[in-house]
Symmetry: C2
Subunit: 205 residues, 2 copies
Amino acid sequence: MNKVITISREFGSGGRELGFRLAEELKIAYYDKEIVTSIVKDTDFAEEFVREMTNGKNRMMYQISIGQSLNVNVDYQIQQMQRLIKAQTEVIREMARKSDCVIVGRCSDYILQELAEEKEIKLYRIFVYADMDFRLKRCMARSTEEENYTEKEMLRQIKRVDRERAAYYEDYTFQRWGERHNYDYMINSSNMDMAETAPKLAKIF
Amino acid sequence: MNKVITISREFGSGGRELGFRLAEELKIAYYDKEIVTSIVKDTDFAEEFVREMTNGKNRMMYQISIGQSLNVNVDYQIQQMQRLIKAQTEVIREMARKSDCVIVGRCSDYILQELAEEKEIKLYRIFVYADMDFRLKRCMARSTEEENYTEKEMLRQIKRVDRERAAYYEDYTFQRWGERHNYDYMINSSNMDMAETAPKLAKIF
């Protein structure tokens, strides 16, 4: 039975880093951006569209940002979303069936529930979070020169991404993002020494 | 620096068992009912009063259940609560200062925050939870013959104890019970094999 670890995370918490380190430690596959590449390969969607949408970019915002009229056929849009979600579901299930792996984001915790219930895989659903102070500091330290965010702007950005992730998760799963009963382990990464803690955490799985 | 693990838990989740196993595994002290005994020793409170109150038994309910008039001096009652809380705080801090330990419930995660910030102790705040189905089954299997609860009654009991714990925690800490940012690790014990998982978890601390 394949062992599959899904990582959901608050923006700036270092959840992706933890996922990567767990995969390294356990010597298993790690899927993050690869999900987007696979969906693009399986469909005729543009890469940018898939990336933005599966990252929880607000639909309406996306519509505005690519300059489409708001009067565009709504049925068509819903159809596109449904096609994307179907492709995403298939790609993530295929990854889980292929080998042990870590999968970051994209509602993978929810998508894989059925395979887990049918005992096709052993699923560990992890949610990584951290204090806002810690996340702000971490994001400021990692922001590029071009971004050049002030602390206030970065704070707004963190909250915006969290809101988008929550909305995408809730639209897709009808469950609340970050609600403890949807996860097996919730890990507070504030001030965590990941290099030290990840190998210890890996032993649980 | 002493290592202190606090366990908060949903009723029926097996959080106490996990705490006990962690203490055993790490060969460190385990405090649960000992907190009540120590408070009683340090004060003139009756043991039953301390046990009920520190378990989050609703104050008004307690008042009614011991048959006091509702017109009893409110100031006196508040004073009693404040004395109890002061004794509880002192007892828990003393335990944390004495040696490495696991402390179950009684707002210990909140009470020890200050010692952790002052680097007197290394604090790990754990919250244990589980699906309602799992908790119900676990509680039914463990209920005594005298209790003789139906499933419906047990469900009501689980929800009542959770509500009491939450209210006590919130009154005392002004924080939300079970809110992820108040804990370092949140662990879903549904269907967890504790004998197998506790030794692995112990390695994190």
